[in-house]
């Protein structure tokens, strides 16, 4: 047997051995585990460990030094790796930059490939919607009902309706993400208000589709890649320079795939766009005594996908924006950067874990005495709003994009 034959022979046994070779971009993540010094600092910071203990979720160190060691046995870790909320805290505190959140995605994708029976059932529901509609949430059957829901939201929040824009050759694409497209429509509307107010030439996608993050979290790499490719085609065809989004998960995932797959397009969160392109001075001028909203005392939640997967500097922008708004007072919550439990699709199959993770936030938010919680991510907004409501809290929750749009005057 020559070398090539030997290679082919080994390749032919991989399926039986339940091994999928690592792809080029995965190798960097896999190799980062070599740097692990097994110190365990990550365990002290993991929000899932804090919420349910190491007996249920053995923690990031265990994923690095135990669970990720034997590809043929990845299946045996399914009861643990699907409990990771993917918040990225472990990677951030790691002195050696071990990329545990990505290692979790790699293991999940192998389990999905070889032992789909061990993938939590709840995730297949998400996958079905994803593959059927190219969206993470089931679209409205009745478009009128969708419009009605939108109008009710606009009315409740007292923000105007700005018609959708579909332009060719606009410099900016506004990409609302699945949640703002189908569920939290007020966030999509609010971003349009902001962009429109500052005369930004932007366009929406004619045919909105998911960025693929939920598919990656399920472990369905193929769907994730095809959704990513689909979106790349739509975005590059429009010839835009920048994609602006209102979702934290989309921000980090789009930043990643646009880099990995050479989109040649920058992707930013609307907070970055406001701070760096529109300018805080203009926002300050525009919002100054522009409305009769009562003074409000807010606290802020930092979405993991912005701070731990993109850059903490983005939340600097959020605070700077809040500071310049009239009548807004900010008190920091002790758990401002603690995972809301909504990540990693954990709530779809282990709601008790997601609920245990969010608990730390709820207590800290209550303690601030704030009237309202703002956060620049529709997923965090939904997770925190639902759970605050469940404990009977009086704290209201707003997506930060909506909060800003509410403070802009009607356009002349």
């Amino acid at each position: 047997m020559n070398e090539d034959e030997a290679y082919d022979y080994v390749k032919s046994t991989l399926k039986k051995e339940r091994i999928t070779p690592y792809r080029q971009e995965e190798l960097e993540y896999v190799k980062s585990v070599e740097n692990c010094i097994n110190c365990g600092l990550c365990i002290n910071h993991c929000p899932v460990v804090a919420a349910v203990g190491v007996n249920r979720f053995s923690g990031p160190r265990s994923i690095a030094v135990e669970l990720s060691r034997s590809p043929p046995e990845f299946w045996s870790t399914a009861d643990i790796v699907y409990l990771c909320t993917g918040c990225g805290t472990c990677r951030e505190v790691c002195p050696k930059n071990v990329n545990i959140p990505e290692v979790v995605n790699i293991i999940r994708s192998r389990i999905f490939d070889h032992r789909p029976d061990l993938v939590p059932k709840g995730l297949f529901m998400v996958r079905e919607i994803l593959t059927k509609h190219d969206l993470a949430f089931e679209p409205w059957e009745d478009k009128d009902e969708k419009t009605e829901s939108r109008n009710m939201r606009l009315e409740r929040l007292r923000i105007p309706f700005v018609p959708d824009k579909f332009l060719e050759n606009a410099e900016i694409i506004f990409y609302p993400g699945c949640q703002a497209e189908e569920r939290a429509q007020e966030v999509r509307e609010a971003a349009k208000i902001i962009l429109d107010y500052f005369d930004i030439e932007y366009t929406l996608l004619e045919d909105m589709s998911c960025c693929g993050l939920p598919a990656r979290l399920i472990g369905d790499e193929e769907t994730a890649r095809s959704l990513g490719m689909q979106l790349k085609e739509k975005v590059t065809k429009l010839g835009a320079k920048k994609v602006v989004t209102t979702c934290a998960g989309c921000t980090s995932n789009l930043s990643e795939i646009s880099y990995n797959y050479d989109w040649g397009v920058e992707t930013v969160h609307i907070l970055e766009f406001i701070a760096e392109d529109i300018g805080l001075e203009r926002l300050k001028e525009a919002t100054h005594r522009s409305n009769e909203l009562a003074d409000v005392h807010v606290t802020v939640h930092d979405p993991c996908h912005l701070i731990k997967h993109t850059s903490r500097q983005i939340m600097e922008h959020a605070l700077n924006i809040l500071r310049l708004l009239d009548g807004v007072r900010v008190t920091e919550s002790e758990a401002y950067d603690s995972c809301c439990g909504g990540g990693g699709l954990v709530s779809y199959h282990a709601n008790d874990v997601a609920t245990a993770v969010v608990k730390e936030n709820l207590e800290a938010i209550e303690k601030t005495g704030a009237d309202r919680l703002v956060t620049p991510c529709p997923l965090c907004t939904a997770q925190l709003e639902t759970n605050l409501y469940k404990i009977g809290s009086s704290v209201e929750v707003d997506d930060l994009t909506v909060f800003i749009a509410q403070r802009l005057p009607m356009k002349r």
Binding site: I37, C39, G40, L41, I43, N44, H45, V49, A50, V52, G53, V54, N55, R56, G59, G88, R91, E92, V93, C94, P95, K96, N97, T251, S252, S255, E256, Y259, E276, I307, K308, H309, T310, S311, R312, Q313, I314
Partner: protein, 457 residues
């Protein structure tokens, strides 16, 4: 993205946070970059100043004594550098070193007083807290929760080691045996030692417990009363005057928990020094970050310094990388406190020893160039020996202002200072001097950087 400040500190451990806080308190706008947590958060949470002279086995009785010896034997030790100042006359160098180190430690103690982890201890004597192995080690400051009161002086003291069922990091039997043997050998109290196991169930199960979950559990109301009930029985049975527990007494409420426990069981309670990554280490890290934040400084977590721009003798900016963004930070002065091998300030491989951000000159503990030295040539076969591991003494060589120097002895940049474990010329593990050197050099580098910034303005 661009931002600017007067002082950029690279590294958010003891040295970086002390330096950043001092600068920020003096009105200098400061950013601290931190790519990950490291040796400070990883530590036992006690602050060593100087425990041993390398090569000897008898500890120093006090930091004052130790620093005087170090200054004499190792004139280029980071502590010794503190004493080199144009205004200081040769005969006053030792007292200057002691004064400066004492200033830094006093600053630390005062500022930690109103945090989750106040410290106890003085510069006039080393203390000997007990570890989870039942051994003792010399250190200068311990967290108040680790204070064993009169245990080792009082003739009729009795110590109870209390373990926790299902918690593998502490074995009370071994600790009790080791400790008692040790005390009998030196003929000092306590002369009676017992052990027991109590049950704490953070998630309803008495097995597979980690330190952090027990500590967080004890932060919750009423959980401390629960363990007090169990301990009280054991204390009464043995007639214990003191109770030693592993370092898990709470993350944010440890001090209050100690007090409640002592009242309820009528005995002194203290935490043992634990294995890394310990809860007290995390408490210390959190407390230091809190001091820095209160001072008004900005802590930029999750950002790693990856490149820089330098014109002539002046460093202009550092570029920091977050997972998906890059940020350029312009500053007037820079402090490099990026740690050693754990923190990643230094790296060693087959091509030699390198400083990670600026490629600064590295030297060995013997002050030879370390650039081409393979780390494995710098290790001892015996893992733990009084001679230590020479690889630990590698690092940067600095001038009296704590500025890293080049091969010709001139500073690499007029506005770059260095502090903490990245400095060469000391071995924290044999000396027991890690956090003390970090705090003192952080304090001194900050002073130099502040003077520099004020001069430029």
């Amino acid at each position: 993205m661009d931002t600017e400040c007067d002082l950029l500190v690279i590294g958010g451990g003891m040295a970086g946070l002390v330096a950043g806080s001092i600068a920020s308190m003096e009105g200098v706008s400061t950013i601290i970059l931190r790519k990950g947590q490291s040796a400070t958060a990883y530590s036992s949470g006690a602050v060593d100043i100087i425990g041993y002279l390398p090569g000897t086995s008898e500890p120093f009785s006090s930091p004052t004594e130790g620093l005087a010896v170090i200054a004499g034997v190792y004139p280029l030790h980071p502590y010794s550098i503190v004493g080199y100042n144009e205004d200081v006359e040769t005969e006053n160098i030792v007292s200057e070193i002691i004064r400066r180190a004492q200033d830094a430690i006093t600053w630390l103690k005062i500022n930690l007083e109103n945090t989750i982890t106040p410290l106890i201890g003085t510069f006039d004597s080393n203390i000997y807290p007990i570890t989870v192995l039942g051994t003792t080690k010399p250190t200068c400051l311990i967290q108040k929760t680790m204070h064993s009161g009169t245990l080792q002086e009082c003739e009729d003291s009795t110590l109870l080691f209390a373990g926790i069922r299902g918690y593998a990091d502490f074995n009370p039997s071994i600790a009790a045996k080791t400790y008692l043997e040790d005390r009998i050998a030196i003929g000092k109290p306590p002369r009676k030692v017992g052990r027991c196991v109590i049950q704490i169930t953070p998630f309803g199960k008495p097995f597979n417990l980690s330190s952090i979950e027990i500590a967080r559990h004890l932060d919750h109301e009423k959980s401390i009363e629960e363990i007090a009930k169990q301990l009280k029985k054991q204390v009464d049975q043995l007639g214990a005057s003191h109770v030693a527990i592993p370092p898990v007494l709470g993350l944010r409420n440890a001090v209050a928990n100690k007090k409640i426990l002592e009242e309820l069981i009528e005995a002194d309670v203290f935490e043992l020094l634990g294995f890394p990554p310990s809860v007290p280490g995390l408490r210390l890290q959190i407390a230091l970050e809190e001091i820095y934040r209160r001072s008004g400084g900005k802590l930029l977590v999750g950002h790693e310094a990856i490149s820089y721009s330098k014109t002539g003798n002046k460093l202009n900016y550092v570029t920091a990388r977050a997972p998906r963004r890059e940020l350029r930070i312009n500053a007037k002065a820079f402090i490099l406190a990026s740690g050693k091998f754990i923190g990643g300030g230094l790296s060693g491989d087959l091509s030699g020893m390198h400083e990670s951000v600026f490629g600064l000159m590295t030297i060995t503990g013997a002050y030879l160039l370390a650039r081409d030295i393979i780390p494995s040539r710098m290790t001892n076969r015996v893992a733990i020996s009084p001679e230590g591991q020479p690889v630990y003494s590698c690092g940067l060589s600095v001038d009296p202002f704590f500025r890293p120097v080049r091969e010709d002895g001139v500073e690499w940049a007029s506005n770059l200072f260095a502090a903490g474990s990245i400095l060469a010329g000391y071995d924290y593990s044999t000396e027991k001097s890690g956090l003390g050197v970090a705090a003192t050099s952080g304090y001194s580098a900050a002073r130099s950087a502040i003077d520099f910034i004020k001069e430029v303005n």
